[in-house]
């Protein structure tokens, strides 16, 4: 196993002050280099992290999750990361699954892995019905637009090596970046794998997470990008 400090866990965070400390603490305990990209939060995010030991980057203007990830990737590249893991701040990902997600990348079998909540029966059962429907739709849209057919869409839990970090450049600042990553994986012929992960739907993450209606906005963003 590589030294954990060369593994950068990127945590884009927008107004997650209530949970961000709980999210990053176990990551720091595992010895990962934790990078919080604060996307211009208006809450107490900074105070919560003040004594935590994370690397803290702040967007002076709210740009969106895609932009925050891109900032995190560039920071990781500049600071000698061997691997980067993207991790949601709202606590819906399970840090104990990071090694499994990283394994194919570390073993050199993939440049990027993506978590999927649709590979194990017990994970699928966790997904609320409405969310399942939206995600299935998103999987089809992603497949049609990018030619990559995955089992999950808009799962923020991913791991990548330096090659993937260098190839991926996110221009979609907001949520359409999830599909954009796929197009770039395809464009640069990156080797990818899906790894089963658990998504914890707490009441908090359900409220904070995207509303199903927002998927319509994402779709429009993607179509506009195809046309213009």
């Amino acid at each position: 196993m590589e030294s954990s400090k060369h593994i950068f866990v990127l945590v884009p965070s927008f107004n997650e002050g209530r949970v961000v400390h709980t999210t990053v603490t176990p990551l720091l305990e595992k010895g990962y280099t934790v990078v919080v990209i604060d996307d211009c939060s208006t809450d107490n995010t900074f105070d919560e992290l003040k004594n935590s030991g994370v690397h803290y980057l702040k967007h002076e203007v709210n740009l969106g999750q895609g932009a925050a990830l891109q900032t995190g990737i560039e920071y990781a590249l500049e600071n000698g990361a061997e691997y980067a893991v993207t991790f949601d701040a709202d606590g819906q990902h399970d840090y104990t699954e990071i090694p499994a997600l990283l394994q194919p990348v570390i073993e050199g079998k993939a440049d990027i892995t993506m978590g999927s909540r649709f590979l194990r029966k017990e994970d699928i059962e966790q997904v609320p019905p409405m969310r399942k429907l939206v995600l299935k739709g998103a999987i089809i849209v992603n497949g049609l637009l990018t030619g990559l057919w995955l089992t999950d869409a808009h799962n923020g839990f991913r791991a990548m090596n330096r090659k993937a970090m260098q190839c991926i450049y996110l221009r979609e600042n907001r949520m359409a970046h999830a599909s954009e990553i796929l197009s770039q994986v395809k464009l640069h012929k990156l080797r990818f794998q899906e790894v089963p992960v658990k998504i914890t739907y707490t009441d908090y993450s359900k409220v904070k997470g995207q509303s199903s209606m927002n998927s319509v906005n994402i779709l429009i963003d993607l179509l506009l990008k195809k046309i213009l």
Binding site: N51, G53, V54, K58, L63, T71, N173, L224
Partner: protein, 110 residues
Amino acid sequence: MLNIKVILLLPLLVLIILYLPKLRNRTFYRLSLIGISALGILFVLFPSLTDKLAHFVGVGRGADLVTYLFITFFFIAGIAFYSKMRKLEEQQTELVRKIALRDAQKLNHP
């Protein structure tokens, strides 16, 4: 009685007077502004011209032709503004990212 022609001409003239000096070094926009305003003034002064033009391109009335042209320009302008906005957004992103990377800090344990 205030003639409709005066009401329509005034904003066109104001437009030219206000914006023509501002668009220095932007020949394309300047020429467009002059061209479109001139056409507008011409149509206001001689409305029958629009009818002739309309017949020429196979549209029933001059007023209809003006409406169609307006809608077309409106959409072109919309697209132009959209791509301009995207570009500004990209520049803003770059700037904000540079600042974030420059000011990155490691928050230490107490």
